[in-house]
């Protein structure tokens, strides 16, 4: 149990680093491309590459969300029924999720074989095999994230704890403690704080 929890945290850290790098790269690419275009020199490859990066963000981020159980779903029923039934239903659901991503990983892999030799339209030195690799890799990572968070999910159902998809209550407590510090009073103009 402990080991799984530690593995899951490690997995989340790695995925978080990838997600942050992709977000930074995307924002930088878009800003630089706009500035260049306004200066009359546009990159022909910019929309294609940016869109591909969004697909990467989608699947690496989805694996992270799987580990955090953050995907949009409806947990009312499995939490509401008898816990034995709840666990059974969750296990069926997990089988569906893993089955779907296994199919996706396999079809993604098949597609990679077919695409051997193809390159991007705008950047002919980038093989499509690299950009499309996100499907089989992302699908496998999703399965890993799902499996690593499964014991915790089952434990919660068994213990009858309610899952709160929207917010981490503990995190919220911290936010509230920090904001206990009064409402900004117009009296002491925030201007004074700016120069601080």
């Amino acid at each position: 149990m402990e080991t799984v929890a530690r593995l899951r945290r490690g997995f989340e850290r790695v995925m978080e680093v990838i997600v942050v790098l992709l977000m930074v790269a995307l924002a930088t690419l878009i800003v630089v491309a706009v500035i260049y275009r306004k200066m009359g020199d546009s990159f022909a490859w910019y929309d294609e590459v940016a869109s591909i990066m969004l697909a990467w963000l989608t699947y690496y981020g989805a694996a992270l969300a799987a580990a955090k159980r953050a995907h949009i779903g409806f947990e009312g029923i499995v939490e509401g029924v008898d816990r034995r039934l709840g666990v059974a239903l969750v296990l069926i659901g997990e089988a569906v999720v893993i089955g779907f991503f296994a199919v996706l990983a396999w079809t993604g892999w098949t597609v990679l074989q077919v695409l051997a030799g193809d390159t991007l339209v705008s950047l002919t030195w980038v093989p499509v095999q690299v950009t499309q690799s996100v499907i089989p890799i992302g699908a496998v990572l999703f399965i890993v994230g799902q499996l690593l968070s499964l014991p915790e999910t089952l434990r919660k159902i068994w213990a009858g704890e309610k899952h709160n998809a929207e917010i981490d209550l503990e995190e919220l407590e911290n936010v509230l403690d920090e904001s206990e510090a009064e409402l900004p009073q117009p009296g002491r103009a925030a201007g004074a704080e700016v120069r601080r």
């Binding site: 978080e16 997600v19 942050v20 992709l22 977000m23 930074v24 995307l26 924002a27 878009i30 800003v31 491309a33 706009v34 940016a50 869109s51 969004l54 697909a55 963000l57 989608t58 699947y59 981020g61 989805a62 992270l64 969300a65 953050a70 995907h71 949009i72 779903g73 409806f74 947990e75 009312g76 029923i77 499995v78 969750v90 659901g93 569906v96 999720v97 089955g99 779907f100 199919v103 996706l104 396999w106 079809t107 993604g108 597609v111 077919v114 499309q132 499907i135 709160n164 929207e166 917010i167 936010v175 509230l176 904001s179 900004p184 117009p186 009296g187 103009a189 925030a190 201007g191 700016v194």
Partner: protein, 427 residues
């Protein structure tokens, strides 16, 4: 037959807590294989990849990121200070401040949950200190956050534009008047409750004060206005505008306000990236469904079926509104847009409803859905901050939701309300 199987299977999987995106994908794969055979399978990988590579949808992570950075620079505090100088002299001042600050924040952020978290974590404790009933505090903050999704930029509008193949810029413009009207309506309702509970005013109206707080907050809402102007004027696309908003937020935080909290920034990026991925996985799965539905001509059949009953535009709008209100009870707005919009678009086009007008109806309608339990992301966030019970808050929130419903009716049946500005700029 296959269609009935798909709907039942989908509902069944969602009931046992399979993520909606995965349920959609899994059911579609089964339907594809049974109707077309195993050879279709490699398409699944291709479509799930193509579905996620969309240039217009890049605006979503950009606006989420810009909002997150703005928030890490203490922007919500500044907006609230300005709103208190502007509205604090009215009875029940803090409610007014909450609604006013939400209006300003809406122009930076595209997400109602982000809005309620940013405003609520400061204003709800302040209201409780001033002896506001906590249910009222939660209700005001929650309902005013809905404005964030009809005032540009708006993440649900970006999704709608891509799903319905309509102009995101026109949608943004269409949201301005209903957003301001809705905000005014909420303020009137807040005033009624202030009288009822005999709530205090905050500050006397003080012009130098207003000017001082305005100067401090000015850049924070003028920069986004300039960027929106760039989008409206066609100088940059919505995605590029989002990128520029990120840049503006960074410059503002690092050089003007000098209080960019790096730890907070990285956390917000992880959070924003995850949110984007959750929505995008739904988009990719819906691309898969879309291929299948198009093949089977299902949206066209649905449109023909309803048109056989009535082709009255107002009746169809009423029907669609009721339908969206009903699914808003159980689905997140992003999921509802991705699932339903592609299916109803042929019907909407057939009865001659402007897709931009319809987009605003859908967005506002699903914004109301975020206020109605059981699935009510915004309301639940507000309740957790206020440590108040969802039902207790709903008893008061129902009045504020009524204001939003009136706005929805106005938007639905008086197209001039959302569309006049659109006609003016692009007519």
């Amino acid at each position: 037959m296959t269609m009935a199987f798909m709907v039942i299977g989908l509902l069944g999987l969602i009931m046992i807590n399979v993520p909606i995106a995965v349920a959609l994908g899994a059911i579609t794969v089964v339907a594809m294989v049974t109707t077309q055979g195993m050879w279709i399978l490699p398409n699944v990988g291709l479509v799930m990849y193509d579905g996620a590579t969309s240039f217009p949808l890049l605006a979503i992570p950009m606006f989420i990121l810009a909002g997150a950075i703005m928030n890490a620079t203490g922007i919500s505090r500044r907006l609230i200070a300005f709103a208190s100088a502007l509205f604090g002299f009215i009875r029940g001042g803090l409610s007014m401040v909450s609604i006013g600050a939400s209006l300003f924040f809406a122009e930076i952020s595209g997400s109602a949950v982000a809005d309620v978290a940013a405003m609520g974590s400061i204003l709800i404790p302040a209201m409780k200190k001033k002896k506001y009933p906590r249910a009222l505090a939660a209700a005001v903050t929650s309902s005013s956050a809905t404005l964030a999704i009809i005032i540009p930029p708006s993440i649900p509008m970006i999704l709608y534009a891509v799903m319905s193949d309509s102009s995101v810029v026109k949608l943004f413009v269409a949201g301005i008047v209903p957003g301001v009207l809705g905000g005014f309506g909420l303020m009137c309702m807040a005033y009624y409750f202030a009288k009822k509970y005999d709530l205090p005013t905050e500050t006397a109206f003080d012009l130098p004060q207003l000017w001082a707080t305005f100067k401090d907050a000015a850049l924070a809402f003028i920069l986004p206005l300039i960027i929106l102007g760039g989008i409206f004027g066609g100088y940059v696309t919505a995605t590029e505008g989002g990128g520029l908003a990120v840049l503006a937020a960074l410059v503002l935080g690092a050089f003007v306000y000098r209080e960019l909290d790096l730890r907070h920034l990285i956390d917000s990026m992880v959070e924003g990236g995850t949110q984007t991925a959750v929505v995008m996985l739904l988009v990719a799965a819906s691309a898969l469904v879309g291929v299948y539905l198009t093949e089977q001509q299902i949206p066209q059949k649905l449109a023909a079926g309803i048109l056989a009953l009535t082709d009255n535009r107002y009746a169809v709008l009423a029907l669609l509104n009721l339908f969206f209100l009903a699914i808003g009870l159980f689905l997140h707005s992003a999921a509802a847009i991705i699932l339903v919009v592609p299916v109803v678009m042929p019907l909407v086009n057939a009865v001659g409803i402007d897709p931009v007008h319809f987009g605003l109806i859908v967005t506002l309608n699903l914004g109301i859905g975020q206020q109605t339990p059981p699935v009510a992301s915004v309301l639940i966030t507000a309740c957790s901050i206020a440590k108040a019970n969802v039902w207790e808050v709903s008893k008061i929130n129902v009045y504020f939701v009524a204001v939003l419903l009136v706005t929805l009716l106005l938007v639905t049946y008086v197209p001039a309300v959302p569309m006049t500005l659109v006609e003016f700029f692009y007519g």
